[in-house]
C-alpha cells in the first residue's frame, strides 16, 4: 500500500545547508592568487556530486571534463587534449538534460574563455603563470597595500601611535579612511573561513579615535633633494603623492583650486560621514612632514597654464579629480529646479545649507553620491526625498550600508524607473519627474549584473519641486587638453601613472579612473610618488622601522563580527553631526584579537607571499 510520509529530512537538510554555508564562506575567503583552473576543477567536482546519474552527458561527461582539466592543471596536456576538452564541454552543454549538467559545462566554457592565457601557459610551460601565487588578502586587495595585519596587532597591543604610523607608511589618510573607506581589504579576509571578516575599518577608526593622527609625530623626511614637483589638485591622491615625495626629500607645491585642501573628501562627502575637523587632522599631520607648499585658490586654466607649471617644476602630478556633476539631457533638464548632486554637496560643504522645508526632492542615481545627496536633502528639512534608480536595489553601486542608512532616515527608494522628462507648470516650475518603468533583462557579460529595458507600462510621475542628478562626474579637462582624453573623458596613463609622450607628467586618482574610491586615489598617489622619484633619477628608500608585535597563535573559536552602529536615525537626520559610533575598547580588543595574522601564518611568511 502506498503511504505518503511527512518529510523527515528537515533536520538533516538544515545540517547540509549549514555545511554549504561554510562552503560558501570558503569561496568568499578564496585568497588572491589561486589558479583559476584549480578553482574551476573544484567547481566541476561539486557539479559532479550533484548529478542524479540519469543522463550520460552529465553523469559521465562531467567526470571526463574534470579529468581533462586536471591534466591541463598538472601540466600534463597538449593542445589536442585541450581541443578535445572544449569539444566535450560544448557537447555536454548541448546535450545535458538539466541545469546541473549544461550549466556546469557552460561555466567551464566561460572559465576556458576568461582565463585562456592561463590554460595556454599550463599547456606550453607545464605550470601556472607566474602571477599565480597566494597573497595576504587584506594587504593585496588594499590599493595602497597597507600593512593591515601589522596595525591590527599594534591596536591589539594598544600601541595606537605606532598603528597610525604604520598605516601612514602607505596611506597618509588614516582618519579619512577610518570613516569612509570602502574597505576592499575586508572582501577576502581569511577570518571568514572561521566566522566572518574582521571589521578592519572599524578597528582603524578605533585607533584614530584613541589618538588624533595630528598628535602622532610624523617620521622624519629625507634631506632636501633640491627637486621640485608640482601637484595639481589637493585631494586624497594629490596629497598622498605630495606626502611621499616629501618623505623622499623632494619639495612639493600643491595647487588647489578651492579654498581648502581635501578634494572630494571635503567637498563631496558630507560632514555627517566624514567630519571636516577629523579630515583636517589627516591633512595637518601629512603637511607636518615639511617640504610641502600649498597654494590655495589656484587653478590651472584660470590662474595659470599647465605649460607654466611644466616649465617651473621637475615633474608634475595631475590629480584634479572628477568633480563636474553630469546631467542627463532629459526634456526640461535645464531648469533652475534641476541641478547636479555634486553642486548641491559642494554648496553644503561650503556651509551654504539650503532650506528645503516643504519641498519634495527627487535624487536620480544609485551610487554613493546619490545617497550622500539624498541624506543631505533630508538634513535640509525636505518634506520628502525620493531616490529614483533605473535598476534594482541589489544592482546599485552604493554601499548597502549607505542605502540602509538612507532608508532609515526616511529616504524613499524607487527602483526600476528611468527618468524621461521633467514636468513643469505654466510658470516653468518643476512639478514632477516623469519616468518610464523598467523591466530587468538579460545579464550584461561585462558587469555580471542584469541589464534593464523599458517595460510595457505607462509612464509614471513622481511629484517633486527639486531634482538632483547623481549620475556620475567628469573632469575639467580643458586646460589639460594636450594630454589627451579617453572616450570616457578621463586622462590616460600607463600603469606607472605616467602620461604618454609627456615625460615628467603623471596623473592619477578620479581624473584617470573616473569617480572611484578614496583609497584607490591614495594608492595611485603613492605609486605616482615612487615613479616620479624614479623618473627624477632616484630610488629613495623612505620606510621607517616600526616594530610589529609577534604573532600570537590564532584564536580559533567562532566569534561574531563586531559591527559599527550609528546614532538613532531620528536624531541624526536633523543635523550634520557624524552618524557612526566607534568601537568600545572591549569590542576593539575582541575584534583585533581575532586577526589570523596572515602576514606570519601561511603565505605571508614566504618570499613574495605578502602582496
Amino acid at each position: 500500500m502506498y503511504k505518503k510520509h511527512v518529510l523527515k529530512n528537515n533536520q538533516r537538510n538544515k545540517l547540509i545547508i549549514s555545511s554549504l554555508n561554510t562552503f560558501e564562506k570558503r569561496i568568499h575567503a578564496n585568497p588572491p592568487g589561486v589558479c583559476p583552473i584549480a578553482t574551476h576543477i573544484a567547481y566541476l567536482h561539486t557539479a559532479r556530486s550533484q548529478t542524479c546519474g540519469k543522463c550520460v552527458p552529465c553523469a559521465k561527461g562531467l567526470e571526463q571534463l574534470e579529468n581533462m582539466m586536471q591534466r591541463i592543471l598538472d601540466g600534463d596536456a597538449d593542445m589536442n587534449l585541450y581541443n578535445d576538452m572544449v569539444h566535450l564541454a560544448k557537447t555536454i552543454k548541448c546535450t545535458a538534460d538539466c541545469a546541473i549538467g549544461y550549466e556546469a559545462a557552460y561555466m567551464a566554457l566561460c572559465n576556458i574563455k576568461n582565463f585562456n592565457d592561463e590554460y595556454m601557459h599550463h599547456i606550453e610551460h607545464h605550470k601556472c603563470h607566474s602571477r599565480i601565487a597566494i597573497k595576504v588578502p587584506c594587504m593585496y586587495n588594499c590599493p595602497a597595500n597597507v600593512n593591515i595585519p601589522g596595525y591590527i596587532a599594534l591596536i591589539n597591543e594598544e600601541k595606537y601611535a605606532d598603528a597610525v604610523n604604520l598605516i601612514r607608511e602607505d596611506n597618509p589618510f588614516p582618519t579619512a579612511c577610518a570613516f569612509v573607506c570602502e574597505k576592499p581589504c575586508e572582501s577576502q579576509c581569511r577570518r571568514c573561513l572561521i566566522d566572518s571578516q574582521i571589521n578592519i575599518r572599524g578597528l582603524k577608526k578605533f585607533a584614530v579615535d584613541q589618538i588624533a593622527v595630528d598628535q602622532v609625530p610624523i617620521p622624519k623626511r629625507n634631506v632636501d633633494t633640491g627637486k621640485r614637483v608640482a601637484v595639481i589638485g589637493g585631494g586624497p591622491s594629490g596629497l598622498t603623492c605630495a606626502y611621499f615625495l616629501s618623505r623622499m626629500g623632494h619639495s612639493v607645491v600643491v595647487y588647489e583650486g578651492k579654498e581648502k585642501l581635501g578634494g572630494m573628501l571635503r567637498y563631496g562627502i558630507p560632514n555627517y560621514r566624514l567630519p571636516k575637523d577629523r579630515l583636517d587632522q589627516d591633512i595637518d599631520a601629512l603637511l607636518a612632514v615639511g617640504g610641502i607648499e600649498v597654494k590655495l585658490n589656484s587653478m590651472v586654466g584660470r590662474d595659470f597654464t599647465i605649460e607654466e607649471i611644466e616649465n617651473e617644476y621637475d615633474a608634475v602630478y595631475v590629480s584634479i579629480g572628477a568633480q563636474k556633476g553630469k546631467v542627463t539631457p532629459i526634456k526640461n533638464h535645464d531648469n533652475p529646479g534641476v541641478s547636479s548632486a555634486m553642486d548641491m554637496l559642494d554648496q553644503v560643504a561650503h556651509g551654504n545649507i539650503p532650506d528645503f522645508t516643504g519641498k519634495h526632492v527627487v535624487v536620480i542615481g544609485g551610487g554613493n553620491v546619490a545617497m550622500d545627496c539624498s541624506r543631505t536633502a533630508v538634513r535640509c528639512r525636505a518634506a520628502s526625498v525620493t531616490v529614483v534608480v533605473r535598476r534594482r536595489q541589489e544592482d546599485m553601486t552604493a554601499l548597502p550600508s549607505e542605502i540602509q542608512s538612507a532608508i532609515e532616515e526616511g529616504v524613499e527608494l524607487r527602483t526600476l524607473f528611468a527618468p524621461s522628462e521633467v514636468k513643469l507648470d505654466e510658470n516653468g516650475k518643476v512639478t514632477a519627474l516623469i519616468t518610464q518603468p523598467q523591466i530587468t533583462g538579460h545579464y550584461d557579460e561585462r558587469t555580471g549584473t542584469p541589464t534593464v529595458r523599458d517595460a510595457d507600462k505607462p509612464p509614471y510621475e513622481i511629484p517633486c519641486d527639486l531634482i538632483f542628478m547623481a549620475i556620475g562626474q567628469s573632469i575639467e579637462s580643458e586646460p589639460f587638453a594636450k594630454y589627451g582624453i579617453s572616450s570616457k573623458m578621463n586622462f590616460v596613463t600607463d600603469n606607472t601613472t605616467a602620461i604618454k609622450e609627456h615625460p615628467g607628467v603623471f596623473a592619477g586618482g578620479d581624473c584617470v579612473t573616473g569617480p572611484a574610491t578614496a583609497i584607490m586615489a591614495i594608492g595611485t598617489g603613492k605609486i605616482a610618488a615612487i615613479n616620479i622619484d624614479e623618473y627624477l633619477g632616484y630610488h629613495h628608500e623612505y620606510h621607517s622601522n616600526i616594530e610589529i608585535p609577534e604573532a600570537k597563535q590564532n584564536m580559533r573559536s567562532h566569534f561574531g563580527r563586531v559591527q559599527l552602529t550609528e546614532r538613532s536615525a531620528r536624531e541624526r537626520r536633523i543635523n550634520f553631526e557624524p552618524v557612526e559610533n566607534g568601537m568600545s575598547h572591549e569590542e576593539a580588543m575582541q575584534e583585533s584579537g581575532k586577526c589570523l595574522r596572515c602576514d606570519v601564518f601561511g603565505s605571508g611568511k614566504m618570499e613574495g607571499g605578502l602582496v
Partner: protein, 902 residues
C-alpha cells in the same frame, strides 16, 4: 630589555630570554628537536612542521623554530603526540619524494634521508600515489633542479632573496602543487641568476644541487678549510678532496663571508689546479731556437743565479728587480721580498697592488697613517648602518660576497649613494646615483666638502681635536660650488647636495670605494679626498663608518703588508727609518740597501732604458694586465734576463729566459690577508704529479745560490719570523689561527685579539691630515681623433687574466669574449648595432671587440672588461702614472670606435 624568564623543556628548568625561540632554547640546553625547513636567520617559515612541540595547556602543536618562549611555558619536545606528528609529516613528504637515493648526489648528506633513518619509518608509505612527473631542470653547467626531490621548504628561495639578495628564485605552482622556479633551464645564460650556488648549499635534499656534488660521496672526501683565491673578501671555504683531487668547493662560515660564496669561489677556484696546462717542470729558453726546453731544477736555478750574479756584478744590484705575487700567501711574498733585498741586494721589489690599490696604500698612509680598510665588512654592512656611500666600486661583480652583504643592508633600509660613471647593478637600488664623468673624483669630493662647510655639516669638534690641515683644504674647496662641480663631473648639482647632506647627517655611514677611485693619474689624491670627506664629518675611528678600499686580489693586502714594496719593509716599516733597517740587518745578517726601489710600473721604462736588466716575476702576467701592452712587451724584450715563476705558461712567459713551475694555493700552507686586514689560513689539500715546488723553497734555493744563506723554513716558521720583525703582525701565528682565532692586524702581541676598527681615538699617524687636493683632468682626454673615453673593469664571472677562472668551461660559456659597452646615442650615430664586432683604437693600439649597446655608460663614454684575449683592453689603456703611487690610469683613456668594414 634584559628580562630573563623561566621555561620548562622536557622537565628541565631553563632560563631564557623572551627574544629566544623554543628551538633556540632547546638547542642551547642540548635538547634535540629535528628540523627540515629551518635555516637560522634565513628561513623560519615553519613549513615542514618537523620541529613541532607540545606546549602544556594547548591542543595545537607549536613550531619551535618561530615561536618565542613565554615565561612559565612547559614544553614537551618528544611527547607521543609530537612523535606521531613528526612521523606523519615525514611520511607525507616522502609520499611523493623520489626515493631512489642511490642515484641522488646528496645521498649520505641528505637531511630527509637522515630523518627517515632516525624515525625508522616503514618501507611502505601509506600516502604514496601516482602524480604527474615533473621534468628536471639541468641545462645550467653548474646547478640543477629536480622537482621530484623538492620538499618545498623554501630555504633556497629565502637564501636567494634575503641573503644573496639577487631574488631570482621563487616558488611556482603547478596547479595545487608548489615547486621552485629554478632558472637553470635552456635559457640560463639570459637569466639574472649569478650562479653563486648558495641555494644549492642550503637545500636539505638533492632537489637543488651543484652538479659537482655528483662526483663524490661526502663520507669519502676530505674537507680542507681554506681561503678563496680570487678577490680580497677572504671567503672561507672547504676544498672537497677525493683521491688527491679537488672535486668541489663548499662554502664555510667565515667572518667576512658568513657562509656565502660567489660563482668564482664556488665554481671557478679548483678546475685550474688540475688543469693539464699547468707547468710541470722548469723550462729554459734555447737561445738558438728560441724554443723552451725542459730542464732540471738545478740547471734552471744555477742558470738564474749565474745570470743574476753577473748582472749584479756588472751593473750593480739595482739592475735587478723582483715582483711578488698578490695571489700567493703572505709567507711567499715575504720570502720573495727577502730574496730581492738580501740576495739581489736592492729595494726594487713590488707587487701588483701597484696597478690596483697602491694609491690607497699611499694615500691613506699619508692622511691617516695606515693604508688599509678601516672597518670590517660586517661592520659597514651591519643592520644599523644608515647610509653607504659607494664610490667607483661595483662589488656585485668584483667583490660579490661584499655586494651580497650590501644588498642585505639596503634591503634592511640602509640608504645607498652610488658614485660611479656606469649604471651598475647597485645603482638601481641606490637612493642617489651620481653618474659622474670618469676621472673627476677629486672634484666630486671637493664639491661634497664645499657643501659640508657651506651648510654647516662639518664635525668641528673632530676637526679641532683629531686633524690638521683643515684651513688649507677649506680654502681650496671654496671654489668647488655644486654648480662648478656639476660642470666638471657632468652631474646634477642637486644630486651632489643631497648626497652631501645624506652622508654628513647620517649616524653611521661608511665610504666604500674601489678601483674607480685609485686607477687614475690622480688616484692617490682621489683616495685622500675620500679620507678628507670622512674626517670632515667625523666618520672615522668609529663603528659603521670609515674609509674602506675593497682590495682587489685575495692577498694584495698581504703582499703590501709583507713589504713587497720599494719603500717599505714588512709591516709598512719605512726603509728610510734607520732603526728599522738596523733591526732587519741584524736579524737577516746582511747589509741592506737604503735606496728607494723602483715601482713596478717604473721598472718597465727602466728596462727599456737598460737601467734594469734582470727581472724575477712571481705569479704575474703584466703583458695582459698592465696598461699599454705594447710598452710592456717592449720592456720585457729589452731585459737581459727574465725569470717567471707561475702556474701556467702565460703571455708574459713568451718573453722569459727561464720559466719555473710554482704551486697553487691548494698545494701549500700559508695565510692570506683579506681586504679588512684579517689574516686567514690557506691549507694544503693536494700533492700533484710533476716537479712543481713550493715557491718559498724556490726562493730559498735561489738565495743560497746567490750567496745569501737561507735555511729551508716551513710556512709556519716563516710566519713566526714575520711576527718577530713586524710589529703589526707581532701576535699572529699559524697556531693561533688553527686554534680558531680570527685576527685583524694590528695584532702586536700574543695576547692581542687584533684590531677590527682602525683609528679609534687616535689616527695611526697621530693627527689625521686633510690633504689639499685640487681637481686635475685625466692625462688623456677625448679629442677629435679619439673622441670617446674608455674605462676598464671586471665582470662577475672572471678574475683578471682568467688564468684561473678561464679553466672552468661553464664560466667561459657564460662570459667568454671581449666586449665593449657603448652608449645608445653614440652607437646610433656610428651605425653600430648591439652585438656587432667593431674596431676599437687608441693611440697605443687597435683591437676588435663586440659592441654592447645600452645606456649603462653615458654618451661619450665606453667600458670594457680586461679579461679577454680576443680583444684585450690593455692594448688600448694609457700608462699615465700617478705621481705618488705610480698607478696607471686604467680608468680613463681616449679611444675611437669604428665599424669593421670601414
Amino acid at each position: 630589555m634584559d628580562k630573563t624568564i623561566t621555561v620548562t623543556v622536557d622537565g628541565k628548568t631553563v632560563k631564557a630570554s623572551p627574544d629566544e625561540t623554543i628551538l633556540e632554547v632547546a638547542r642551547r640546553s642540548d635538547i634535540y628537536i629535528p628540523t627540515l625547513c629551518y635555516l637560522k636567520d634565513v628561513n623560519d617559515i615553519g613549513a615542514c612542521r618537523m620541529c613541532v612541540v607540545e606546549v602544556e595547556g594547548h591542543e595545537h602543536l607549536y613550531t619551535s623554530c618561530n615561536t618565542k618562549v613565554k615565561d612559565g611555558m612547559v614544553i614537551f619536545t618528544h611527547s607521543e603526540k609530537v612523535k606521531l606528528s613528526r612521523e606523519f609529516v615525514l611520511q607525507l613528504i616522502l609520499a611523493n619524494h623520489d626515493v631512489r637515493c642511490l642515484s641522488c648526489s646528496k645521498s649520505g648528506d641528505c637531511e630527509l634521508q637522515n630523518l627517515s633513518k632516525e624515525f625508522d619509518l616503514p618501507i611502505e608509505n601509506p600516502y604514496r600515489h601516482k602524480l604527474v612527473k615533473l621534468e628536471s631542470v639541468t641545462a645550467n653547467p653548474f646547478l640543477s633542479y629536480y622537482p621530484e626531490l623538492c620538499i618545498g621548504c623554501q630555504r633556497c628561495v629565502s637564501t636567494c632573496n634575503k641573503v644573496v639578495g639577487n631574488g631570482v628564485l621563487r616558488s611556482s605552482k603547478v596547479g595545487t602543487r608548489t615547486f621552485i622556479d629554478a632558472p637553470f633551464g635552456d635559457d640560463w645564460k639570459n637569466t639574472k641568476c649569478e650562479l653563486c650556488g648558495n641555494c644549492a648549499k642550503v637545500c636539505p635534499t638533492g632537489a637543488l644541487v651543484a652538479k659537482n656534488m655528483s662526483k663524490y660521496r661526502l663520507s669519502k672526501v676530505e674537507k680542507v678549510l681554506t681561503t678563496c683565491p680570487h678577490c680580497a673578501t677572504g671567503c672561507q671555504m672547504y676544498l672537497m678532496v677525493k683521491n688527491n683531487k679537488v672535486v668541489d668547493v663548499r662554502p664555510a662560515d667565515g667572518p667576512s663571508n658568513k657562509g656565502l660564496l660567489c660563482v668564482k669561489g664556488r665554481f671557478g677556484s679548483f678546475n685550474f689546479i688540475h688543469s693539464p696546462e699547468r707547468l710541470k717542470y722548469p723550462l729554459i729558453r734555447n737561445k738558438e731556437t728560441g724554443k723552451f726546453e725542459q730542464a732540471t731544477w738545478d740547471e734552471a736555478l744555477d742558470l738564474i743565479a749565474t745570470k743574476f750574479k753577473a748582472i749584479k756584478a756588472q751593473y750593480g744590484a739595482d739592475a735587478l728587480a723582483g715582483f711578488a705575487c698578490s695571489r700567493s700567501p703572505n709567507e711567499d711574498c715575504y720570502m720573495l721580498q727577502k730574496m730581492v733585498r738580501c740576495a739581489f741586494g736592492t729595494n726594487n721589489v713590488d707587487n701588483c697592488a701597484r696597478v690596483c690599490h697602491s694609491a690607497s696604500v699611499a694615500g691613506l698612509a699619508m692622511t691617516l697613517g695606515s693604508g688599509a680598510m678601516t672597518n670590517p665588512i660586517a661592520d659597514i654592512t651591519g643592520s644599523d648602518v644608515d647610509v653607504i656611500m659607494l664610490v667607483g666600486s661595483n662589488p656585485e661583480e668584483a667583490h660579490p660576497v661584499v655586494g651580497m652583504q650590501i644588498r642585505q643592508a639596503v634591503s634592511r633600509g640602509a640608504h645607498l649613494i652610488v658614485v660611479d660613471p656606469r649604471d651598475i647593478g647597485l645603482s638601481r637600488e641606490a637612493d642617489i646615483h651620481l653618474k659622474l664623468k670618469p676621472g673627476t673624483n677629486v672634484a666630486f669630493a671637493n664639491g661634497m666638502m664645499h657643501i659640508f662647510i657651506e651648510e654647516g655639516l662639518v664635525d668641528e669638534e673632530f676637526i679641532k681635536n683629531r686633524t690638521e690641515g683643515f684651513e688649507e683644504l677649506k680654502e681650496i674647496v671654496k671654489d668647488y660650488t655644486p654648480e662648478y662641480v656639476s660642470k666638471i663631473c657632468h652631474i646634477d648639482p642637486d644630486h651632489l647636495r643631497e648626497a652631501a647632506r645624506m652622508y654628513a647627517t647620517a649616524g653611521k655611514a661608511p665610504i666604500i670605494y674601489c678601483l674607480g677611485v685609485t686607477e687614475h693619474s690622480t688616484g692617490t689624491e682621489g683616495v685622500m679626498s675620500m679620507s678628507n670627506m670622512a674626517m670632515m664629518v667625523g666618520k672615522l675611528g668609529r663603528p659603521g663608518c670609515g674609509v674602506n678600499p675593497l682590495r682587489g686580489q685575495n692577498n694584495v693586502q698581504g703582499a703590501c703588508d709583507m713589504g713587497a714594496m720599494p719603500g717599505d719593509m714588512p709591516g709598512y716599516q719605512k726603509i728610510t727609518n734607520e732603526e728599522v733597517m738596523k733591526k732587519f740587518e741584524k736579524s737577516w745578517g746582511v747589509k741592506l740597501s737604503r735606496k728607494q726601489g723602483l715601482h713596478a710600473t717604473d721598472v718597465f721604462q727602466a728596462a727599456i732604458d737598460k737601467k734594469v736588466r734582470g727581472l724575477f716575476i712571481f705569479g704575474e702576467d703584466p703583458v695582459v694586465t698592465d696598461a699599454n701592452q705594447h710598452h710592456i712587451v717592449k720592456a720585457l724584450e729589452s731585459l737581459d734576463f727574465l725569470v717567471i715563476d707561475d702556474l701556467f705558461f702565460t703571455e708574459s712567459c713568451q718573453y722569459a729566459d727561464v720559466v719555473l713551475p710554482g704551486t697553487s694555493y691548494a698545494e701549500k700552507e700559508g695565510t692570506f690577508s683579506n681586504t679588512e686586514r684579517r689574516v686567514q689560513r690557506v691549507r694544503k689539500a693536494v700533492t700533484l704529479e710533476g716537479e712543481m715546488r713550493l715557491d718559498t723553497d724556490i726562493f730559498t734555493d735561489l738565495m743560497n745560490r746567490m750567496g745569501y744563506h737561507q735555511p729551508y723554513l716551513t710556512s709556519a716558521q716563516i710566519m713566526d719570523e714575520i711576527a718577530s720583525l713586524t710589529p703589526i703582525f707581532g701576535g699572529i701565528s699559524h697556531k693561533r689561527l688553527d686554534d680558531g682565532e680570527t685576527l685583524q692586524w694590528p695584532c702586536p702581541t700574543r695576547d692581542s685579539k687584533g684590531t677590527p676598527i682602525l683609528h679609534v681615538g687616535k689616527f695611526s699617524r697621530g693627527l689625521g691630515l686633510f690633504y689639499p687636493a685640487k681637481y686635475q683632468p685625466s692625462a688623456e682626454l677625448p679629442d677629435d681623433e679619439y673622441p670617446l673615453i674608455l674605462m676598464t673593469g671586471r665582470v662577475l664571472y672572471h678574475y683578471n687574466t682568467r688564468a684561473m677562472t678561464g679553466k672552468t668551461p661553464g664560466l667561459m660559456e657564460k662570459e667568454g669574449h671581449s666586449f665593449i659597452e657603448v652608449n645608445t646615442a653614440d652607437a646610433a650615430r656610428l651605425g653600430i648595432e648591439n652585438g656587432e664586432r667593431i674596431r676599437v683604437s687608441s693611440r697605443r693600439g687597435t683591437i676588435t671587440s663586440e659592441a654592447r649597446v645600452s645606456d649603462k655608460v653615458s654618451p661619450g663614454e665606453t667600458w670594457m672588461p680586461f679579461h679577454f684575449p680576443d680583444g684585450n683592453a690593455n692594448v688600448l689603456t694609457n700608462a699615465a702614472l700617478d705621481k705618488f703611487a705610480r698607478i696607471p690610469e686604467y680608468k680613463v683613456c681616449a679611444i675611437r670606435i669604428e665599424k669593421l668594414e670601414q
